[in-house]
């Protein structure tokens, strides 16, 4: 019986059906299943399969994102039911945002979805965020990785400010910094002292894993 529900949860993630994922998460709890087992035996294998299908070219970005949405929908039900001391295994805590003066969202959101789908716990602080807001979110969440996005040549300068603010707050040694966005290059990342850069959301996951020592 429990295996059947794990399979349904996995299927909801693979098929990208958030409504089904939520429904099966509720049924799992009603039937007294361990929420952590539901995550480890159902959702995780599901999202792994989505990743595999993406890597082979069979799945597209929307499949990945909607699969991630399905996983989130089930986690919203299952996580509050975890008992004290229980927690799902995460690769790392990440704060993600678009820098001050910049309203571009999609690239940053994609990176967030990809990181979540790959086992990171992501706090997405949104767009047009000052360096101080990044630092506050890092302090609050205890994140060890931050991603700052910029799409404009005029706003990319603010990525440097985030790094400076981390130094001022005495957090630079504990927090790795990733930067990205259309005008960003590897050499810009080096120039401002960032730890990682990626050209697209898929590569961003590989870079993030390396930075938290999970690769």
């Amino acid at each position: 019986m429990s295996q059947e529900i794990y399979d349904k949860l996995a299927k909801a993630v693979i098929d990208g059906e958030p409504e089904d994922a939520e429904e099966w998460a509720k049924k799992a709890l009603e039937q007294g299943l361990d929420p952590l087992d539901c995550i480890n035996e159902g959702l995780s294998p599901g999202i792994d399969r989505v990743g595999e299908l993406f890597a082979t070219g069979d799945y597209f970005l929307p499949d990945l994102i909607i699969g991630g949405d399905a996983m989130k929908a089930a986690l919203n039900i299952l996580e509050p039911a975890l008992t004290q001391g229980q927690g799902r295994h995460v690769l790392g805590q990440v704060v993600l945002g678009t820098v001050e003066g910049d309203l571009h969202e999609i690239g940053k959101t994609l990176v967030g979805t990809m990181l979540t789908a790959n086992g990171f716990l992501v706090t997405d602080i949104g767009v047009d965020k000052t360096a101080a807001e990044f630092v506050a979110a890092i302090k609050e969440s205890g994140a060890t990785l931050v991603g700052a996005s910029a799409l404009l040549t005029t706003t990319m300068l603010h990525q440097k400010e985030v790094i400076e603010a981390l130094k001022e707050a005495g957090l630079r040694d504990q927090v790795k910094v990733m930067v990205g966005g259309a005008p960003i290059t590897e050499s810009w990342a080096k120039e401002i002292g960032a730890d990682g850069y990626a050209d697209d959301a898929i590569t961003a996951v590989a870079v993030a894993k390396k930075l938290v020592g999970a690769a």
Binding site: G16, A55, D63, I66, T109
Partner: protein
Amino acid sequence: MAKIEPIEPQFHLEVLNPEQLSSIKSATLQIMEEVGVRFPSKKALRIFAEHGALVDWERQLVQLPADMVLEALGQAPRSYVLSGRSEGTDLILDGRRSYFATDGCGTLTIDFETGEERYSCKDDVARMARVADGLSSIAFYWPIVSAQDYGRLAPLHELDASFGNTVKHVQTETVMGEMPARYAVRMAGAIAGSREQMRANPPLSALICTIAPLGHDKEGIEAAMVYAEAGIPVGFMAMPTMGSTAPAAPGGALVIGNAEAASAMVLMQLVAPGAPVFQSLLVSGMDPHTAGYLVSLPQKYLCNVAAVQMAHDWGVPSLAGTFGLDASEPATWQLGRDSVYTALLCALAGTDITIGLGMLKASTLLVPEQIIFDDEIYHTHRVLAEGLDISSQGLALDIISKVGPGGHFLAQKHTRRHLRDVWIPELTQPRPSPDGTPPQDIRQRARAKLDRILVEHEPEPLEEAVRAELDAILSAAERELGS
């Protein structure tokens, strides 16, 4: 599993208005009646004479009264089927779809392994038939090169290599002469199962070239009569060259070609009333300094479209010749340009069948990976000709409202479903693959795809009894015709 994706154009291109079409038809009928067409075949001349044409036996010239031409062509079917040997591989020539084939019949091959240029052989025909079987752009197969390792029997061995390696319909453009044609018909009968089934579902059709200006080839026309009697669809391709074998004016070249092809189609109807026939006109230009053959010309592209209209005006299907132009290297600017002007325009004109994928140097040189480039261009044309989806699903109003200003469409199920409808060129935008990063060089990418098809695609084999029958027919042909 062999698959076919024809082009189904949703908008149409015409270059001749009804008056112009009518002028061409009148001029053609006048040439056939007053000037005549040369048929160097006693059998053909006798049939024409029996049906009331004016025959000059010495000059082998036939003058065809307009009434006779129109009455005969009136019996030719506009719609019929060219059959493949497995489900889903039939070509329905009813004017709603364009089916494409490889080019043929080259004499040189860039060797698959060494990359050196050499004479073509039967194995090349077989390998490319397997590739054709695995590409959905290829609806029927022209033996792409000559099986030069089989001497006089090369044309029959080309058919053998084709039937053995693809379930798709095969069209020969090399089996000429009454006796070889009889063997080709026997081979088609073996594939179909019986003569009756072959007539109903022909797995073979034939194309015969005329001789410009205003003539036919004895072997070609006598083979054609064998095909028509057996129910094998047969088409006639005129290739007038403006300036040398035709007037240096597209209109005159079209009239000459039209008279050549139509006169042969009339003969077929006299031999076998209702015989399925088709017409093809490939106008080219003469190089004004060398008299060489020029095909990358805007007037030629216009004539291609006019030729489709003219075949349909007679009430028969049209075969167009596309791709395979002057260029000698794959992936060149020139090939890209010419493919659009030939393949796309002919498809939009509503040509029924079209040949031309996979060859270079004016259809003489087989560069194996060229067919992959042409396949990608074909699919670009296919999607282009389909037009735009302005249905409620296509307009997606509810999704636009749901996402609203400032949002994005990546997480919508509508996006997930319809993103798959956006056809993305595979060579220029390679997809992620479990095989790792695709090669940087586009020609290597094309070659990698070709090699993958050759390794992974298994055409449905012939039944053992059919295989044995084909072998027996080839042995009999060798005894009778010599090797």
